[in-house]
């Protein structure tokens, strides 16, 4: 499988994502400079965390105009899998590939720690290795992760099972206490209507190895690989 990892000038989880896909999972990785076109033949695109352009105006505000974004939009429109992690999620929002916007954390400052998230939809290309309602422990690291959208859009997200992860307590209960940033409806990750674009604030690439004490994040990548394999064999069967 070939995964494209987008590199903005201020990306800083790009190496981490490469490490997971390449060294931990044994896949092929193409690092894609934000000023270049998206290469052909990718099975998935990952927009990693970081501070794309210093995040000075708003997170992701400037990144969405990078040349590579045109290719990513086309890739997504054709059903390609796009995963945005943290700053990647923020960029997907600014680019309009996912609805809504990010506000400053409720406590105003950057927070880096493990949180629990509940898998609200285990039937997506990014979560099919999880069971519905499964609780994952995944670290967050952000200052602007308080998801917001208007009530109509929120109702749509809820109705279409587009909320993929919600912040929760260790036992899976959702509520203000377990919400680390004031995110609307406890949202930690959403998908687009078609299901092929996912944005999530927690960092699965930070918990995909036993040496780091936690492998829960691996489920996300395992799901993606499973989906890609499925797609490939579908294509093969269809004689493409």
């Amino acid at each position: 499988m070939k995964i494209g990892i987008v590199v903005f000038p201020g990306s800083n989880c790009d190496h981490d994502c490469r490490h997971v896909f390449q060294d931990v999972l044994g896949q092929t990785v193409a690092m894609v400079w934000h000023k270049d076109a998206l290469p052909a033949g990718l099975d998935a695109v990952v927009i990693p965390g970081g501070f794309s352009y210093g995040d000075y105006l708003r997170t992701g505000a400037i990144a969405r105009f990078s040349p590579v974004m045109t290719g990513i939009k086309e890739f997504a429109a054709k059903g390609g899998m796009v995963l945005g992690i943290c700053n990647g999620f923020q960029i997907l929002l600014e680019a309009g590939l996912l609805p809504g916007a990010m506000l400053r954390n409720r406590e105003l400052h950057f927070v880096c720690r493990d949180v629990f998230v509940r898998v609200e939809n285990a039937a997506t290309p990014f979560t099919n290795a999880c069971v519905p309602g499964q609780v994952l422990r995944i670290p967050i690291a952000h200052a602007e992760g308080s998801y917001y959208t208007d009530p109509v859009t929120l109702a749509g997200l809820q109705a279409n099972a587009q909320i993929v992860f919600r912040y929760c307590a260790a036992d899976g209960t959702v509520g203000t206490e377990a919400n680390p940033n004031g995110s609307l409806d406890g949202i930690a990750g959403i998908r687009n209507a078609e299901g092929n674009v996912l944005g999530m604030m927690p960092h699965p690439e930070r918990c995909a190895e036993a040496l780091l004490g936690n492998e829960d994040g691996r489920l996300i990548f395992a799901s993606m690989l499973e989906t890609m394999r499925g797609k490939r064999s579908e294509l093969k069967m269809a004689g493409v």
Partner: protein, 79 residues
């Protein structure tokens, strides 16, 4: 021309920064302060002589980059 742009959170959107400042003001003894809202303020030079054209440009800049209209509103002045 000189442009001044104000970008503020839309009414109804929680402004934790404003809240924090309000709280800090009150604990400093400024009890009479309330409803603090925080926004962004930008100044820039526009190399344009035509006012209408400058306004159109500014509007585009705001819509495209300076404000995120999901959560923010903007206004601008030219001088």
């Amino acid at each position: 021309m000189k442009a001044k742009v104000h970008v503020t959170l839309k009414q109804g959107i929680l402004d934790p920064q404003g809240k924090a400042i309000e709280h800090a003001l009150q604990s400093l003894g400024f009890q009479s302060a309330s409803n603090v809202r925080v926004g962004k303020y930008m100044e820039l030079d526009l190399n344009e002589t035509d006012r209408a054209k400058a306004e159109a440009l500014l509007k585009q800049m705001c819509e495209k980059l300076l404000a995120n209209t999901v959560i923010e509103e903007y206004r601008y002045e030219l001088s």
